[in-house]
């Protein structure tokens, strides 16, 4: 297992260095003066220009600049935002819980609905139930989620007035930020109605962000289940006279879950891409909206840092999924 871990790390580290080179160099590829881009000052005297250039280390050879940047990144220094002057990493940690909370809810939503749907579709293969589930999954998979979000707002916020349009919680509630997770903080605050408000704000974004993972998981579960149900050991279990529930629930599902877990792990990238759109639609103060806003503000240190942090997180999650996969399926370790 340890060797497997080292082998994966040996691939991961060069990839991360490559990612950091991309994040580092894209500012230098931009048209215009990097000094002005990184400092955010448009008009400056030659002296000021030289001063900032020296301050940011931009007057040094490019290789040194890169190593300097990498060294900073390894110590957690991603530079400062142009618009707020705050360190990029601090901002990231401030906003990340919002995205994490939304992503966790979305993936729970997708797993809780997707796995049973896939299992039952596989058991009832070819039935009307199977066909409608797979039809719905294909629609979900093809969904432009930014439009899906707008439709849900029209229906639930506009016509039915059940849910709020945007934000994480109603403005009338104010309580200390303990964990960064609105659901937990609102419970801790003990304020009446705060938790309910947090939940009602979370429902639509969860559905929107969870739709594509839900469709992918349902499809993957169905096909993994179909494959497993045709195996000899399942037939043996059936022949032994085990109840259908035991055959499907214990024997088949356990093995069918192996590819499904990988699929769930791969959804992290999908969730991050989805967060960009979902958070923009619902004004959800998380990483996705932060990145979009920074692109519009031309806040390059934030774009650079955010790109690197997000890619780093995805790589670590993928590594964790790989390790988990190695644990539950010992065959692939070798």
């Amino acid at each position: 297992m340890l060797r497997f871990l080292f082998k994966r790390l040996a691939v991961l580290i060069p990839t991360f260095i490559g990612v950091s080179i991309i994040a580092f160099s894209f500012i230098r590829m931009l048209p215009g003066d990097p000094v002005a881009l990184l400092s955010g000052e448009r008009v400056m005297s030659p002296e000021r220009h030289a001063e900032i250039s020296h301050q940011l280390g931009l007057d040094r050879p490019i290789v040194i600049q890169y190593l300097d940047y990498l060294w900073g990144v390894l110590r957690g220094d991603f530079g400062n935002s142009i618009s707020t002057k705050a360190p990029v990493l601090d901002q990231f940690f401030q906003l990340f819980p919002a995205t994490l909370e939304l992503s966790i809810c979305a993936i729970i939503f997708a797993v809780v609905l997707g796995i049973p749907a896939g299992v039952f579709a596989a058991i009832k293969r070819g039935s009307a139930f199977d066909q409608s589930i797979m039809g719905a999954a294909l629609v979900g998979y093809s969904m432009p989620i930014f439009w899906w979000g707008l439709l849900l707002i029209i229906l639930f916020s506009g016509i039915l007035q059940w849910t709020p349009v945007s934000g994480r919680i109603s403005l009338m509630y104010f309580f200390p930020n303990v964990t960064g997770f609105m659901l937990i903080d609102s419970l801790l605050s003990g304020e009446k109605g705060a938790f309910k408000s947090a939940v009602s704000h979370l429902i639509l974004p969860t559905i929107v962000l969870g739709t594509i993972p839900l469709a992918v998981i349902a499809r993957q579960t169905r096909s993994a289940m179909l494959e497993v149900l045709g195996e000899d050991y399942v037939r043996t279990a059936r022949a032994k006279g085990l109840s259908p529930f035991r055959v499907v629930g214990i024997h088949a599902l356990r093995n069918a879950m192996i590819p499904v877990i990988t699929t769930i792990g791969l959804q992290v990238g999908v969730l991050m891409a989805g967060a960009i759109l979902t958070e923009t639609i619902f004004s959800w103060p998380g990483i996705g909206k932060w990145m979009v806003d920074s692109v519009f503000r031309r806040d390059y240190p934030v774009i650079q840092g955010g790109l690197l942090i997000i890619a780093g997180i995805i790589m670590l999650v993928n590594l964790a999924v790989d390790l988990l996969y190695g644990l539950i399926n010992p065959r692939i370790r070798h």
């Binding site: 990839t15 093809s142 930014f146 439709l151 707002i153 759109l277 774009i303 790109l307 890619a311």
Partner: protein, 301 residues
């Protein structure tokens, strides 16, 4: 000597049989056939947009701002699906929008496919350090969420449809590289390749004429997937304001313009998104059918 000049392609009976076999398996999948018909209809709409659109896509009717579809009270029969905030006919814009979406799909898929094939064939055929280097670069691109990378690339290149298409093609390309490489590595030590090499075929011919045609099945399936992804991503970038710029009647851009009227005029939001969904769904249905028809493992023989 004269065999090369003969028009052998259309008369080749084995090719025709293969095509018939392909159609047999493809048409078994009812969804795929429906998808194909819908897709052909969209292509037809895109081609005929100037003829069938009741209005010019950017014509503004100042007396007809935010009119609902004709079946709602206040709607007019000349504006079947209503008008937007500056009085443009939504139906006409949607019809013209089909041109953009198909254009985006074709260009992005072609760029990603051709680029991916060339790089993938080289990686798979050459092996060694070149292969390792290429695959590491592809890993790096795949480490980013595709939409985020496309968004940042467009921020670097400048907003606009052309740059959005380049960015999306770049982001989709690693999938083709991986598939091509895997297929080429599976094929390159087969007997027919060795025979061709012994017969004196040069590396270029071996790579692109001998091996590549036998690796096309997974690439075709991936190409349909990329086609729908390209349309979705381009619409998403348009929605974020980084793709096609107003007043282009691109569906994602139309949605972005419609956002502020969402609670007042449902039709400006509903129809462009529906157009995206139907197009993407039709292509994905076709993709499923193609996969079933081209993947021998899934064939129920």
């Amino acid at each position: 000597m004269t065999a090369e000049a003969a028009p052998s392609v259309s008369l080749d009976p084995s090719r025709r049989r293969r095509l018939a076999e392909f159609w047999y398996y493809f048409s078994e999948n009812r969804g795929a056939v429906i998808g194909l018909w819908v897709f052909l209809l969209i292509v037809l709409v895109a081609i005929l947009a100037p003829v069938i659109a009741p209005h010019a896509p950017n014509a503004q009717y100042r007396d007809a701002v935010l009119l609902p579809p004709f079946w709602e009270s206040g709607g007019r029969a000349t504006f079947i699906l209503g008008t937007d905030a500056v009085g443009r006919d939504i139906l006409s814009r949607l019809l013209y929008g089909a041109q953009y979406s198909l254009f985006i799909g074709v260009v992005v898929t072609t760029l990603a496919l051709v680029g991916g094939i060339v790089v993938g064939v080289i990686a798979g055929y050459a092996g060694g350090w070149l292969d390792t280097a290429i695959m590491r670069i592809m890993d790096i691109i795949l480490a980013f969420p595709s939409l985020l990378l496309a968004l940042v690339l467009v921020a670097v290149l400048g907003p606009g449809l052309t740059n959005a298409m380049i960015a999306i093609a770049l982001v989709l390309q690693p999938h083709f590289v991986r598939l091509t490489r895997a297929a080429v590595m599976g094929e390159k030590n087969r007997e027919y390749v060795i025979a061709a090499r012994v017969a004196g075929a040069r590396p270029m011919r071996l790579m692109f004429r001998t091996i590549l045609p036998n690796c096309m099945a997974p690439l075709i399936v991936q190409a349909t997937l990329s086609f729908s992804n390209a349309i979705l991503d381009a619409a998403a970038l348009g929605f974020l304001g980084m793709g096609a710029q107003p007043p282009t009647p691109e569906w994602g851009t139309m949605l972005a313009e419609a956002r502020e009227f969402i609670l007042r005029a449902w039709w400006v939001v509903t129809f462009p998104g529906l157009a995206i969904l139907i197009t993407v769904l039709a292509i994905n249905l076709m993709g499923d059918g193609l996969r079933d028809a081209l993947d021998p493992k899934l064939k129920r023989s």
